[in-house]
């Protein structure tokens, strides 16, 4: 206790000193929430504009019988990711930085370095904060861009965070990722942990529904019925083959 008070006092005096001493330093005057709202709105507007322009380009190209260059499809995320990075730096070390780091994870399209930096910063400075619960959903999204550190951070929050509400958010996010990778055992374990840790009715519902969905196709479950038509258009059902072993093959010639 005493140590943390001392540390806080040092930190305060340190930053006050630095601010007074460093004329060139930018001392944040911004309200982080207002800055985030503005960033998110500008970004949404830019994405809507991009969609409209893309649609116009596709239509024009179709009429002319030409192909739309691949680059035209790329969303202009770069400048917004950079702004988010600057704002995260402005509020460095504080909870206020977390939404901007989350913004990077959520919206980066090809800004790999920014994503890696955001994951690293979250792991180094915010892993124990409750604010990190609001961004865990985006970690699976960047698993490819950020590599192992994203997964390590996710695991750390899901398995060790002191606040159960934050853990539950991470467990739900991880269970979705595991289910997507066909690791139904891992996903079920996380969802059962959620049921243990929370009393929130909405989260319990979410966990329960996810469990039903996973178990539907798990080994040991009765296969869902398929009531369809064959390639000739003749109706038949998977259950017509009860009594036989069925090897069900999702395939195509393409």
């Amino acid at each position: 206790m005493l140590r943390s008070v001392l540390a806080a006092a040092l930190l305060l005096s340190g930053s006050a000193f630095a601010a007074a001493d460093c004329g060139a330093c930018v001392v944040s005057q911004q309200d982080p929430q207002a800055a985030y709202t503005k960033l998110a709105k500008d970004f949404a507007d830019a994405m809507a504009k991009h969609q409209d322009e893309l649609k116009a380009k596709v239509d024009a190209a179709r009429k002319a019988g030409e192909r739309v260059p691949r680059a035209a499809y790329r969303a202009p995320t770069k400048e917004f990711v950079e702004t988010a990075q600057e704002l995260a730096q402005e509020f460095a070390g504080k909870d206020a930085a977390v939404p901007f780091l989350g913004f990077i994870l959520k919206n980066a399209s090809a800004e790999r370095n920014a994503v890696k930096w955001a994951v690293k910063t979250l792991a180094a400075e915010h892993v124990e904060s409750d604010a990190i619960g609001d961004v865990v959903d985006y970690l699976p999204r960047v698993a490819r861009m950020a590599g192992r550190p994203a997964m390590t951070l996710m695991n750390d929050i899901a398995d060790n965070h002191e606040n159960n509400d934050v853990r539950v958010k991470a467990l739900l996010a991880r269970s979705r990722q595991l289910a997507a990778k066909d690791d139904s055992e891992g996903a079920v374990a996380d969802l059962e942990k959620v049921q243990e840790l929370t009393e929130d009715a909405d989260l319990l519902d979410e966990a329960k529904e996810a469990l039903v969905e996973i178990k539907k196709l798990a080994i040991g479950s009765v296969a869902p019925e398929i009531d369809g038509v064959d390639v000739e258009g003749v109706a038949f059902k998977l259950s017509d083959y009860r009594g036989k072993v069925v090897l069900l093959d999702f395939w195509g010639f393409w």
Binding site: D230, V231, L248, F250, F253, W254
Partner: protein
């Protein structure tokens, strides 16, 4: 893949086994269907397939299929026993065991 599957269908034609496809080719158009028929003949596809796109949601979406091919091994009682075993010898081993169980249940 297809030649091996064809051999399984042939090998177990008198035993309780069925290979059922869920096909994602564009057989809903005349051109697509013609193409399918041509390849079906060429590759010797002798088994029946659901038309994936004919269902809403698509069968592959209902079954959360993310990669093709995806295989489900379903026993004589309709229970999913294995998924995505792809090695030919392991496929045969697993299916042989399942077929034997189906035959034992018939008696």
């Amino acid at each position: 893949m297809i030649p091996h599957e064809r051999s399984l269908v042939e090998k177990w034609k008198d035993r309780p086994f069925a290979l059922i496809g869920v096909n994602s080719d564009k057989t809903n158009t005349e051109k697509g269907m013609a193409l399918y028929k041509e390849k079906q003949k060429e590759m010797g596809v002798t088994w029946r397939s659901f038309r994936n796109e004919a269902n809403e949601p698509r069968i592959s979406d209902d079954w959360r299929v993310r990669g093709w091919p995806t295989l489900y091994y379903i026993d004589h009682e309709g229970v999913i026993k294995h998924k995505n075993i792809r090695g030919e010898s392991q496929m045969e081993e697993v299916l042989e065991e399942m077929i034997a169980a189906a035959e034992a249940a018939q008696k």
